[in-house]
Amino acid sequence: MTDFRTPLSRARGSGAAGHGAAHWVAERVSAIALIPLSLWMVYAALVVSRSDYAGVVGFVSYPVNAVLIVLVLLVSGWHMHAGARVVVEDYIHGMLGRSALLVLNLFLAVLVTALAVFSVLKVALGGAL
């Protein structure tokens, strides 16, 4: 790969933004995790769509399935927050509007993820039947 960076820039390792590339890397790492997780989620959605209530509860209660569903929720929750954040940062230029949307994005992503994770754990730990 062509290297456009100067030796000093490489040594500082902070890039054009002036701070670390942690957000960028975290978005990619969560993307890699979501390759197998999202494919499994499509399979899980197919199983769930063809089951009645007791069948779905049984599927969610199976430990491997419960853990994989929670992982899908956590990693996709992280990834969608990171992705929507970049969209807001790219397109919304007003200080107030941008800040409000970034906070809303964080709160919404955490709330949606927390509600889903709690409900799945409740069902998996026997709270639904």
Binding site: R50, Y53, V57, S76, A84, T113, V117, F118
Partner: protein
Amino acid sequence: MTVPARERPLSPHLQVWRWHLTMLTSILHRATGLALYGGAVIVAVWALSLGAGPEAYQGFVDLMASPLGRFVLVGLTLSIFYHLANGLRHLFWDAGLGLSVTASHQSGIMAMAFSVVATITVWAIGLGPGGL
């Protein structure tokens, strides 16, 4: 924030450019990503209704089986497969691979074709006879 001494030039925005494939795939990546944000809300409603009991869950199932529900679910299936395939493209680009015009056009067409074929396959399995 410091006020700039003079107005800095902005890069040309969407309406200036002739439409081309890599531009379309990039816009679709963001659009499908935001659509999947909505999909996460639907998954949360699914989990909540499942935890709330059989009547609540039946309400969710009926909503998803309605024409609007089906339309949304097909859109989300397309979105998940497109975002997956195009995300893979982005990961290869981040590694410095497949950046030429020819390669990025080919992979863009492949990502779009994959998302359509995979969506048709999943819905054929989902609506078809027999179990999994």
